[in-house]
Symmetry: C2
Subunit: 241 residues, 2 copies
């Protein structure tokens, strides 16, 4: 009998807290495809668990004989391997545009969100992972993590500038993919879910079309995203506070 699909994903010191934006993209894609899977929690340095993949980073998918890293490649693998299941891209033309959207989301959602929430993310790790995270991320930021708190307001403003095309789109249609969600929605949702589970900062306000869309995304698959455990003490950002 075939083993269930495994998804190796990053966790905090509380191993039930799973916040990786890349992993959320894939978890939503697996739900969309109606594939059952087993999430496997991994600390940053527990790479031996998925060594067979050859990948140095999570998420990693393990499906039968296949080991695969890189969330875009995993999405394409799921689409091609489970071609009979509901489509993530709606065909080749849609896959092309979704690939653009993936790159756009990395540059215009993930990157601008990072300095806003990084000071909260760092508190979620145990000592070993925390040291690894601090060293690698402070190098990327070019400053101590604590210093990002000084420019949080400015970083939020910058994020909202980057959000303009997404907001304009969601004013005219319910989902990024149109009337129903597909992979473009999961690509963006991963970024907002990451922030929502790691930080009490509200990135979105209730009157924002993107807020209303995120609510719809949290409702998908019987509230799969909404049920995830936040790492911070505050309520996850799914109600106006």
């Amino acid at each position: 009998m075939k083993q269930p699909i495994e998804l190796f994903e990053l966790c905090g010191k509380d191993r039930d807290v799973r916040f990786s934006p890349y992993a959320w993209r894939i978890k939503m894609a697996l739900m969309h495809k109606r594939l059952s899977f087993e999430p496997v929690a991994c600390g940053f340095l527990e790479k031996q668990a998925f060594a067979q993949s050859g990948s140095n980073t999570v998420p990693v998918l393990h499906d039968g004989d296949v080991w695969m890293g890189e969330s875009w490649d995993i999405a394409c693998y799921l689409e091609d391997t489970y071609a009979e299941a509901p489509s993530l891209f709606g065909g080749q033309v849609g896959r092309g545009a979704a690939h653009f959207f993936s790159i756009w989301a990395d540059m215009n959602l993930l990157m601008p969100i990072f300095p806003i929430i990084v000071a909260d993310i760092v508190t979620l790790f145990g000592d070993t992972d925390r040291a690894y995270f601090e060293t690698t991320r402070e190098k990327r930021l070019g400053m101590p993590i604590a210093d990002t708190l000084k420019t949080r307001e400015k970083n939020l403003e910058s994020l909202h500038h980057h959000l303009r095309p997404l907001r304009a789109l969601l004013k005219t249609q319910k989902f990024i993919a149109g009337k129903a969600p597909a992979h473009t929605d999961y690509l963006a949702f991963g970024c907002f879910q990451w922030a929502r589970l790691t930080s009490p900062v509200n990135l979105l306000e209730g009157e924002d079309h993107i807020y209303a869309w995120r609510e719809r995304m949290l409702d998908l698959f019987d509230g799969f995203g909404r049920a995830a455990k936040p790492g911070h003490q505050g309520q996850a950002q799914d109600s106006l506070t």
Copy 2:
């Protein structure tokens, strides 16, 4: 017998010079759909020609009893009306992502290109259209058109910042839509063709993946885009100079 489709599009004082980015999106979409059409040149103030559309701006499509403005709406109309012809979006999911791309292209291609080429565009009009263009565009720019020349280098730099996600995508695939072009490609191409036909400024250099893509776009439909008449004296930007 059904009349051929008419496309009302902006022209310069030389009525064979047709450079509107929105019109180019539709012309490429019509070619993609293998629909024959008659382009009709319009000055800015010759609105009586398409008064029946209720639209105040070109391009306007006239197809049988249908009059339609707004280039995104026209593309959707063509896709739905000529559903048997090659698809522009590849289905509903692709249409959703293409709509995002359309909004992104307006904000990140069209708007940043405008101040780079506006001082060249203004020279292409006869007196009446020129006065109209100057008044409306200087209001939009918040400065005299001639002043844009002072910041051309800075504006080019800013454009290249906006081009990053498109360049990263075209490093990995031949067209925005994947292996073959579709409407997302025409949305972006319209912006570059507009610049190419109005201004001798080279927006793209030969080693750029976007340059190579634009060459492929100019080759489509037996060189339809390449054959268009430029408004400026220099060679259109399709060879390295």
